[in-house]
């Protein structure tokens, strides 16, 4: 899937909206294995817009995961623990 022969690919997708929905379900882990197989093996390799969209969706998720997550401040963790322990001893 990484390097399909682009010269044989369709440059337009007639079902772009439906494909986009399927593609997102696949990336979200919500598609059945049949749906996934069919789309990834039969459609993606032949359809340039869907091929690009798929890789874009994957790249956006990776970027979100690396750039938009962080750690809770230690003071917050300590404060919550202290308050709960206090509650337990009440």
């Amino acid at each position: 899937m990484s390097n399909p022969d682009q010269s044989h690919m369709k440059q337009d997708c007639e079902n772009q909206r439906e494909c986009m929905e399927m593609l997102q379900m696949i990336v979200d882990g919500e598609a059945s294995s049949d749906q996934k197989d069919h789309f990834l093996k039969h459609h993606l390799e032949q359809c340039m817009p869907c091929y690009k969209n798929y890789h874009l969706e994957v790249a956006i998720r990776q970027l979100l995961k690396t750039k938009c997550t962080g750690q809770a401040p230690q003071e917050l963790v300590d404060s919550i623990k202290a308050k709960v322990i206090q509650n337990l001893s009440d």
Binding site: K52, T69, Q71, A72, V84
Partner: protein, 198 residues
């Protein structure tokens, strides 16, 4: 309290059990919870308050939690409800737009045609700063929320439906819109960075 409906059979945990559940099932989600709180409030102090309130509520209502069920989803639901019920009310800044209005607008075919997926993977690779974070934060809170739950936290559609109290179909359509809007913002950054997106 919004947790009651989830409270299938009410548990009667001992103090030791409560401590174990809190420490082993609730606290491991603190980073995700803080991140969710921060992305909702966009303020570090507010998010600390929100997360602390949520954890104390979770402790207070721990008997409505069934050991071994999805603690993360349970906690996220409390945080989301606290945000809507407490934080938004307290907030000086009223909710700017009526959500229904936004959803109707973004569900129109017009918008679908405008948003073309012309963003390139190469442009994303050069976004090594805060671009994606800013793009996410700039989304309306309801759109931001579904991206956080799905893409950052890996919740399934049915779990998101329960956390947000909306039907699965709405989860899917909202996610679809949210991603288009995020791509639109990222395309703007890409253009500013000199990428041709056409």
């Amino acid at each position: 309290m919004e947790l009651e409906e989830e409270a299938a059979p009410r548990q009667h945990y001992s103090d030791q059990e409560k401590e174990n559940i809190f420490g082993n099932e609730f606290m491991p989600h603190i980073n995700s919870m803080y991140n969710f709180g921060y992305r909702l409030t966009l303020d570090q102090d507010d998010s600390k308050d929100l997360v602390q309130d949520t954890y104390l509520k979770a402790y207070r209502f721990i008997d409505s939690f069934q050991k071994g069920t999805n603690a993360k989803a349970w906690l996220f639901r409390i945080l989301k409800n606290s945000f809507i019920n407490d934080y938004r009310k307290k907030s000086k800044e009223p909710l700017k737009v009526d959500y229904q209005e936004v959803e109707t607008y973004y569900n129109s075919e017009e918008v679908d045609r405008q948003i073309t997926p012309d963003l390139r993977v190469e442009a994303l690779k050069d976004m090594i700063g805060d671009e994606i974070s800013n793009a996410l934060n700039a989304l309306d809170v309801d759109f931001r929320t579904v991206i956080i739950l799905c893409d950052l936290e890996g919740f399934k559609y049915d779990e998101m439906a329960k956390i947000l109290d909306i039907p699965i179909g709405t989860v899917r359509s909202r996610l679809h819109r949210a991603r288009n809007l995020l791509k639109e913002k990222l395309s703007e950054y890409a253009k500013q960075m000199g990428y041709k997106t056409a």
